[in-house]
Amino acid sequence: MHEQSVAELQRGLQARQFSSVELTMSCLARIEALDRGLNSLITVTGERALAQARAADARLAAGDSSPLTGIPMLHKDIFCTRGVRTSCGSRMLDNFVAPYDATVVERLDASGMCMLGKTNMDEFAMGSSTESSFYGATRNPWDGERVPGGSSGGSAAAVAARLVPLATGTDTGGSIRQPAAMCGVTGIKPTYGRVSRYGMVAFASSLDQGGAIARSAEDAALLLAAMAGFDERDSTSIDKPVDDYPALLAQSLSGLRIGLPKEYFDEGLDPGVAACVEDAIREFEGMGAVIADVSLPHAPLSIPAYYVVAPAECSSNLSRYDGVRFGYRADGASDLMDMYKRSRSEGFGAEVKRRIMVGTYVLSAGYYDAYYLKAQRLRRRISEDFQKAFEQFDVLMGATAPSVAFKIGEKADDPITMYLCDVYTTGVNLAGLPAASIPVGFADGLPVGLHLIGDYFQEARLLNAAHQYQQVSDWHLQMPRDLGERSPADEKR
């Protein structure tokens, strides 16, 4: 069952070959057997999942179901889930039980999905490797000594290991796309404002966006369709109808204009990754797409601009964690200021504190214009480059990440080498555009992701292009082997 697509599973449920309860129990058993070695989940919600599965079976029997009814899934631990711990991978929220459901959680629950747990992530979504989680690193299912990418590493690893077919993620600078690339799965970040951020713990409010991680574009389309849509509780939600992503998957790619930004094929790109990406681009050409080069002149400044804007917004958003009303409070504080400082310093990990400090600095008096406003001006230039490119092209492509998954601990010493993982992905968040990553091969035995970028609200086109590629290739069907043989103490793998 764990190798089947969501559509196949739905057909099986409709035909009563198995029930949602049986399917859910099968996934829970897989989690029990395999996740000790992966550490992709922070919390397992077995009882809740089975209750949802029973409700789903009733809906299926009554003929009142949707394509996702009865399908098991996981939520990144950044989405508030009522009555269930919502930790954001941080000690700061280790004791936080959310009193409400995020809109995304409500919508997927309403469609009849079964939430089996909350996935591991870089602390407060700040990271590209899931190593900064308070709950320890998640291991890449393809190589247990390597990272799964981040910050949605738990979701990507869980889907890659086929613990569940679908998982939610969030992406602020690449946090859905990069782990999808490193784990060999499909991930999509929609246009800013497409998916409600209500109940999605904020990191950088002008960049954060929730999205879908799945084994294929077809599966991702189903999940995204259920997540997306206007929500009046999110003041940045865009009031625009949602395209019928599943219905638009099958369009021909003949005449699709694909641009290859030359800045994405720079010296930083690993040759093995480049080779897989170039092969994939030739496949698109074979399907009738027209390929040409393009330039995004300000692309090299995406990372510096991002690492001013994102920390600035994070320093503001994380000021709510003060130990007063919820979350971690340090013991024995002598006065209020001592309580604030010790709660925050003990509750947050090193990378989060680093980014809060950077953000505080760039927003402080005397530096605001030189850093924050400057970055916001570059942001407009970066966005304009994309708009010019979309006058001539429908989709832009390149590698999602400059390298394959690196070893756990390899980039721990220098924050900047970690930041450079996001070199191709951050510009997309600054511009608010939709983008996806799909598996297109292996380099040194590790997955390689192709990055597809679309114009505003062109999620259907991205999923269509990805789906058509997945009809003529089978990288997305590859599964890691030997998952069950890994144990947490096994250092040799």
């Binding site: 004791n95 009193p99 800013y192 404002g193 002008s206 960049l207 009046e232 003041s235 940045t236 865009i238 300000h298 400044l301 510096p304 601009a305 690492y307 320093s315 000021s319 003060d322 007063v324 009303r325 919820f326 409070r329 002598s334 006065d335 209020l336 200021m337 001592d338 604030y340 400082k341 010790r342 925050r344 310093s345 947050f348 680093r354 809060i356 400090m357 950077v358 505080t360 600095y361 402080s364 030189a370 850093y371 400057k374 970055a375 916001q376 001006r377 570059l378 942001r379 407009r380 230039r381 966005s383 924050p415 900047i416 930041y419 968040n429 600054l430 511009a431 608010g432 555009l433 505003y456």
Partner: protein
Amino acid sequence: MAIDRDEILRIAHLARLEVSDEASARTAGELTNILEFVGKLNAVDTSDVTPMAHPLDASQRFREDRITEADRRSEFQAGAPAVEDGLYLVPRVIE
């Protein structure tokens, strides 16, 4: 732009974070490196560019000034570190 120890202490205080004496030198070094790295932004002239705060340049949506939330204070306070009579308890506020 080199960040020194005093600057680190100032920023930490603004951010309500503690930085120990041993950590302050390393933190100063890390922040200096990061700020040098993002300083690349200054290579481009942007004097005629309007800052972009929202990717789609959308502005804040308004709604009617009506109460739409229910009072769930006791539920929200169930997970609080210390409450009494509906109020949050904290250590003495220094004058």
